[in-house]
């Protein structure tokens, strides 16, 4: 589909990720945190805004276990979670 040569046809151009690819977690070092994150998602009706703390923990685990390039988490969009969060439970989900 993305190689259609029609003029004006919308096609998708895949882009490489900004920071490259995640190395595979062959030993399951961060699997527990991943399960916590998935549990949080399921209980919150798959609302990402409410589970950002868990995703932050998962990424920290990855960095600690050499599965991700170490980087300040503010650069990954977790600026609001670095300070003690005022109230993360106040955001109401609107599916």
């Amino acid at each position: 589909m993305s190689t259609a040569m029609n003029f004006g046809s919308k096609s998708f151009k895949p882009r490489a990720p900004d920071k490259g690819a995640f190395p595979l977690d062959h030993f399951g070092e961060c699997k527990a945190l991943k399960e916590t994150f998935m549990k949080c998602l399921r209980s919150n009706n798959f609302d990402n805004s409410l589970c950002r703390l868990q995703s932050k923990h998962y990424l920290e685990c990855r960095m600690d276990n050499q599965l991700m390039a170490k980087e300040p988490l503010t650069k990954l969009g977790f600026k609001d979670l670095m300070d003690p969060p005022p109230s993360q439970a106040d955001t109401d989900p609107e599916p």
Binding site: M1, P14, F22, M38, L41, P93
Partner: protein
Amino acid sequence: MLLPVLLRPSLCRPRASVFLTRCVRTLRCDAPMPPPLSRAEHFLLRRLPARLHAQSRGIKSRGRKSKSQEETWKSRNKTGLTYIAAAGVGMIGLSYAAVPLYRLYCQASGLGGTAVAGHDAEQVEMMTPVKERVLKISFNADTHASMQWNFRPQQSEIFVVPGETALAFYRAKNPTNTPIIGISTYNVVPFDAGQYFNKIQCFCFEEQRLNPHEEVDMPVFFYIDPEFAEDPRMARVDTITLSYTFFEAKEGQKLPLPGYSYN
């Protein structure tokens, strides 16, 4: 009276002779106007050719006219040809200029899903989530027919807002007894929204090796550009589908990284 007219027609100058006799007649008769042609005179005028006489009159003046006419034609042809040649060269130039111009136009109008000019890594730090606009991201996983991995998403959908980073997981399992190397690509629909879908890190475009009977979690860390909320074309878009497809990577085969021409 008519008899002399009928008896003396001359082929060289038929008309003149007819008129001559008539004029002579009028002179003799002292008539102010020549009488209208009688039937016999009509007959004579018609039957006898009058071409030669008429032709001999125009040749000399036409000769003079054609020369100047030819000159004007020549000069007109020259100007015409110059214009045509200039237009031809202009067309060739336009066709060369069209390539960068079209690229600029595509970037400005976003036609064809071209990447909106540059999203940089610094933006991730600075962006603020647009909390009013909730989007549903649904996940899809595919494998190539000959690829034996079991590949599926761990959540069917997730609700995000533009400007907020999100994490999602896929799971892949190698049920065979041999290690298999896979490589994946992705697709985002709708295509227009694809330009706002930015992946910070994922598992695509690089070879991933799975040992026999191994199962791994594959995360995708992404965000939707906050400018998504301001694009009028995206006003009706509420669902974005992210679809990954895994292929088997053969030894020694290099997959070209995307973004070779536009990024």
